[in-house]
Amino acid sequence: MDCRNWIVEVVESARAGLQPDAQLQKHLRECPRCTDRWDDEQRLSAELRTMRDAASSRSEVRREAIMREFELAHGTVMRRSVKLAFSIAAILLLTLALGQVWRNHRPADTIAQNPGSSAPGNEFEASVLTNVPEDDDFIAVPYAPPLAPGEFIRVVRTQLRPNALARMGIYVDASLSEMPADVVIGEDGFPRAVRVLGDIQF
């Protein structure tokens, strides 16, 4: 075995912190070059061990800092999820609101055309309206605000003057005195439809 092969033994023994085995010791006694290398490797291994021991370090400060960074990054992800959830909720609410507006307008139209019939999406008023006497002569009051879903209505029988009827969009002979009428009134007190009773000429 020549020195090149012995060097492998020299380096590996020094790295492992082992003493040279008998064969290597014999070679080291005979070869000053390998002995030099063995001394160098021994010294270097000792220095590297010192360096390794000194480098060991644990830092709670570093650990806490990186954990905060993780929470921050993860928190950002959470915020994105929350934003998305809020966006979806907002879209749903907007859709519901538009639906309600659409439904609120439909019964008013239906009342205008046929106050006594049931209006889809506004069953409550419709059911009340169906209790109104069946001759179905109600006339919707123009420009009256639409009934809200589930809003109660009352049918009030009263005496109305021609000018009061005119304000509700019903024009009768102005020379007539008060006349009996049924008025559909919403919860807000505004009239929604009128039915003039008796034999009246419009």
């Binding site: 060097i7 492998v8 380096v11 020094a14 790295r15 290398r37 063995w38 001394d39 160098d40 490797e41 021994q42 010294r43 270097l44 291994s45 000792a46 220095e47 590297l48 010192t50 360096m51 390794r52 000194a54 480098a55 060991s56 370090s57 644990r58 830092s59 570093r62 650990r63 800092a65 990186i66 954990m67 960074e69 993780f70 929470e71 990054a73 993860h74 992800v77 959470m78």
Partner: protein
């Protein structure tokens, strides 16, 4: 059962802080030492180890399991960060300042070890990686070969050459100080 780095990484990406903490405990100390050996500066090493994990947390992380282990990836990130800092002039200034009181006073406590840090920094990069991983991080040749993505024999020869260069560099200092190997 011990979870692999990659399993912890997958859980961590889903927001599992426990998984991240475990990964950090497992890899940060070695990463810190690795950066310290490459840079010779405790401050730089702390920054590098921290930034490597920040990179891992970030949305734009480039880690891909199919291309290698997470450990190799982290060493690669640390190596690049040290390199980037070396390119910046701040690194040089930092090392000078740190060597003046940080490393020498607090960590190395010895002229020879300071010289060893300097000698390691001056090694060619491939030799430096080999000696740091095998002789300072105590990785086997097989593990180092995986981390360095080269053949086992290549790692061994690089370690031998690196040690020879280091020994030659340190010899005058050691002889003048009367340090003997045996």
């Amino acid at each position: 059962m011990v979870q692999s780095d990659e399993e912890l990484y997958r859980q961590m990406r889903k927001g599992d802080q426990r998984a991240f903490a475990e990964l950090y405990e497992r890899r940060e100390p070695a990463l810190f030492r690795y950066a310290l050996y490459l840079s010779g500066s405790r401050i730089v090493a702390e920054e590098v180890a921290h930034d490597a994990f920040i990179e891992l947390i970030g949305r734009d992380t480039h880690f891909d399991e199919r291309r290698g282990s997470l450990e190799a990836y982290l060493y690669g990130v640390a190596r690049n960060l040290v390199r980037v800092m070396q390119r910046r002039r701040t690194f040089e200034q930092g090392v000078e300042q740190v060597t003046a009181h940080d490393v020498v006073a607090d960590l190395i406590k010895g002229e020879r070890t300071a010289a060893l840090y300097a000698a390691i920094r001056e090694l060619p990069e491939s030799y430096r990686d080999a000696v740091v991983l095998c002789d300072l991080e105590e990785k086997s040749y097989e593990e180092a070969a995986l981390l360095m993505k080269c053949a086992l024999g290549t790692v061994r020869s690089r370690v031998y050459r690196a040690r020879m260069l280091l020994a030659a560099r340190l010899k005058p200092l050691m002889l003048s100080a009367g340090v003997r190997g045996r």
